[in-house]
């Protein structure tokens, strides 16, 4: 056929909007909106609107490449796959699977991610991870521990039913734009919107109560709010009694966090903390929306536990209009985690240490000795490479040089490897360091499922074929598996999905029909426990929590200051984040002219007081410096930030030269949100 309209799911963020691609003569020529999509209702943010600019970009990788001196030579697939197998196989043989690392892609489909971790583990390596480590690892650990599941608890449109929405560390207006619609609908029905953020973002514009919090002080704020709630008798005692454990210890720990003390630590006025606490506790249905502002800290896991404590003492979970919404970043980071591309989980969040896990998967995969322990997380793989232990890596659809903190460390790590194979669609900075580069397929060139942040599994269709000699990731992974002695057959996405369904309980009930209609929102189920009096309800935790005894775990957390404090040399707090027109490390958006026109280059937001103290005028080039290095940026004098705080969007090269690689001890997530810096005229 020469003309068609193909339904796809957007490759950018975790909202999972649908749209159609117009295909003419095998080429993607335009976009059409999908008004009946259940979450986006036909809307698309600027990135979705410009998606074809990246898809059709002439800079797409079209040939397999082999390193030759400082550059690359195009080679055949036969040769490239042979080299990849040799490089990985050699390292497996000489140094053992513990010293080979696999970095999966939360942009790739569930089927691709599933096969990727199957490859790694079948080869004996426990070192498989994905970029969730950089964004919601705190959620995976913290929320998983507290309520047994680490995903949004209610569908996104349920936010419209809330009477109070507490947004903390999320700028959904720019980065998950369709969510704003539901928040606004709630607001127009009278809901109170509370936004806690160091910056006055377009999300904060919607706030009835804006808490301009000092970066890294979330636990103090939350404990302060909970102190008020306990003291004023606003806790939900029946909920606490029936469904939680641990309240007594929490109540004791909260005594020192008076609203006054919280105000001192957070720089938020005491009165606002009290108002926010009362609003959240008193409303009949309150929801919490959060994102990187909470997770990307050395206290990330504690921050998430504090949020869980807050909602548990008020009982705001398991009903319409309530719940907690960790807004996931990537289009398929939820799915990549569900598929076990995390070192501490097999598919379906099964623990490697549990004997049943290795038995079940061993039987299914025909492999005798699957890894039965946790391996290295993504940043630990880099540490290990730098220390000369990890010798080879297979990186799929990730650009750690630009995504990881403290870029210099990442470069040293990848440089130290004996062998690096990178599979991607663009020649990213990470691909430039590879020994072999494998040209892969973009989202519109493959079929399979993506799982959005509201746990909605959706099928995306193939609209066009990959350019040049680029191939589908499923094919590439299977070919490499074959050459490494795993005896896999090539299979379709549908066949892989069938295998996933047989092994991942939450995906068991998926059918193609429902995927073709409005997708499928998975519900957590563990052997012996199936939630929901309303069968098939997409709201989690209505009757119990998937924890060992069905109770949620409240546990006290204490405020610890951020890892790097300001000093006379670096007197300003640097915080990083996203802008709506770009996406993550920018491999796609920096190649989209429409988006570059909106934000063409790195800028630094600073308060007028800080600017004038340094003689800096809006627009001039300045140097931002931390203990790790320097970056040049355009000064943007703005009232979005408070005095003493500056903001850099991390999509641009240079930002992560400055950030700090100190990690949360449990989640291993780096503190990307706080560093100490100085800004001077360039």
């Amino acid at each position: 056929m020469t003309q068609a309209k193909v339904a796809v799911i957007c490759p950018y963020c975790g909202v999972g909007c649908g749209f159609y691609i117009k295909v003419e003569e095998g080429r993607a020529t335009g976009i059409e909106y999908m008004p009946d999509h259940p979450t986006s209702r036909g809307s698309l943010c600027p990135k979705g609107n410009a998606a074809l600019e990246a898809l059709n970009h002439p800079g797409r990788l079209q040939h397999p490449l082999m390193r030759s001196g400082d550059g690359f030579l195009p080679i055949s697939w036969e040769k490239a796959l042979a080299l990849a197998a040799e490089g990985l196989g050699g390292a497996l043989r000489d140094y053992g699977p513990e010293n080979v690392g696999f970095l999966a892609s939360s942009k790739c489909t569930n089927e691709e991610n599933y096969l990727f971790q199957k490859l790694a583990r079948s080869l004996g390596s426990p070192n498989v991870d994905n970029c969730a480590r950089l964004c919601h690892a705190s959620t995976v650990v913290g929320l998983g521990r507290a309520i047994g599941a680490c995903a949004t608890t209610n569908p996104l449109d349920d936010l419209a039913n809330s009477r109070c929405i507490f947004v903390i560390g999320s700028n959904f207006s720019e980065n998950h734009s369709p969510v704003a619609r539901y928040v606004i609908e709630a607001k127009e029905e009278g809901a109170i919107i509370i936004v806690a953020d160091p910056r006055r973002t377009p999300t904060a514009w919607l706030a009835d109560i804006f808490l301009q919090i000092r970066p890294g002080t979330d636990v103090a704020l939350l404990n302060g709010m909970m102190h008020v709630i306990v003291e004023e008798g606003l806790v939900n005692h029946s909920f606490l009694k029936e469904r939680t454990q641990g309240f007594a210890a929490l109540a004791e720990s909260l005594k020192e966090y008076t609203a006054k003390r919280a105000a001192e630590i957070t720089c938020v006025p005491e009165g606002d903390i009290i108002r926010a606490a009362r609003a959240y506790a008193r409303s009949p249905a309150s929801a919490i929306v959060y994102s990187m502002g909470v997770t990307q800290h050395v206290s990330g896991t504690d921050n998430v536990q504090a949020l869980a404590n807050l909602l548990l003492i008020c009982g705001h979970i398991g009903r319409p209009g309530t719940g907690i919404f960790p807004l996931r970043g990537q289009n398929n980071v939820q799915g990549a985690c569900d598929m076990g591309t995390l070192t501490e989980f097999y598919p379906g969040y099964r623990r490697p240490e549990d004997r049943r896990t290795t038995e079940v998967f061993g039987r299914a995969w025909g492999v005798d000795r699957l890894p039965n322990h946790c391996g290295l997380t993504s940043l630990e793989m880099m540490d290990s490479a730098r220390e000369g232990r990890l010798r080879a890596m297979y990186i799929m659809g990730e650009d750690p040089i630009n995504s990881d903190p403290h870029s210099e460390k990442t470069r040293l790590a990848l440089d130290a490897l004996d062998f690096l194979v990178v599979q991607d669609i663009f020649p990213t900075d990470t691909a430039q360091m590879a020994d072999v580069v494998l040209p892969a397929s973009a989202w519109a060139e493959k079929e399979g499922t993506f799982t959005s942040t509201e746990r909605r599994v959706q099928w995306t269709n193939r609209a066009v074929f990959p350019p040049g000699q680029a191939r589908e990731d499923l094919w590439i992974i299977s070919e490499i598996a074959g050459r490494l002695g795993l005896g896999w057959k090539q299979c379709t996405a549908e066949q892989v999905l069938a295998e996933i369904k047989s092994l991942v309980p939450t995906y068991r009930a998926i059918t193609r029909e429902m995927l073709a209609r409005e997708g499928f929102i998975w519900i957590h189920s563990i052997e012996g426990y199936y939630p929901s009096r309303r069968k098939g309800s997409p709201i989690l935790h209505e009757e119990g929590f998937p924890t060992p005894d069905g109770l949620a775990i409240i546990s006290p957390v204490h405020f610890r200051p951020p890892a790097e404090e300001t000093s006379p040399e670096h007197p300003l707090i640097l915080t990083t984040g996203r802008v709506g027109s770009h996406y993550n490390a920018g491999s796609m958006t920096m190649r989209s002219p429409s988006l570059l026109e909106i934000e063409p280059k790195l800028y630094v937001e600073l308060h007028p007081a800080d600017a004038s103290a340094r003689g800096i005028v809006d627009g001039e080039t300045v140097v931002v410096q931390t203990a790790r290095g320097e970056a040049r940026a355009a000064a943007r004098v703005s009232l979005r930030v408070a005095p003493g705080v500056v903001f850099l969007p991390f999509h641009f090269s240079g930002c992560n030269d400055l950030t700090l690689d100190v990690r949360d001890p449990l989640a291993k997530i780096p503190e990307l949100k706080v560093a100490a810096c100085q800004v001077r005229r360039g």
Binding site: W205, I209, F210
Partner: protein, 135 residues
């Protein structure tokens, strides 16, 4: 006979029509300080595009001369100060507009703001009420 352009200085308002229309780049605009200079060079081919397109019918042909130019005053924006149009262009606009478009007591002073500042002004006006309610 390849001709030279002659400008009627009483009619030319200094708009970009001929500059953008000339297929051979022979008409050049130079904005310096508070003045716009439009310079015409002798045509290289037989063509009458600029003569036809001029909205004021200010251009005609002559045999004499190799180069000619006209200098016009530029209007600075009453808000940002940027020189954004010639004064004759703005006068032409004013003379074409119905009297209802005089904005309140400001009369025609809105014409002296550049389009960008007009947007700014309008945007501010549009969200004023919203701003007063937002913290």
């Amino acid at each position: 006979m390849i001709e030279m352009i002659s400008i009627d200085v009483n009619l030319c308002i200094g708009c970009p029509a001929c500059i953008q229309a000339c297929p051979h780049g022979l008409i050049v605009r130079l904005d310096e300080g508070a003045s716009r200079t439009i310079r015409f060079s002798r045509c290289e081919v037989d063509c009458d595009i600029c003569v036809k397109i001029c909205p004021e019918k200010a251009l005609s042909f002559t045999e004499k001369g190799g180069e000619t130019e006209i200098v016009l005053p530029l209007q600075p924006c009453s808000s940002c100060g940027r020189f954004f149009a010639t004064k004759p262009m703005l006068e032409k606009v004013r003379s074409c507009l119905p009297v209802e478009l005089q904005k309140d007591s400001g009369g025609w002073s809105w014409l002296e703001a550049c389009p960008s500042c007009r947007r700014g002004e309008e945007g501010l006006r549009a969200v004023r009420e919203i701003l007063s309610r937002r913290s």
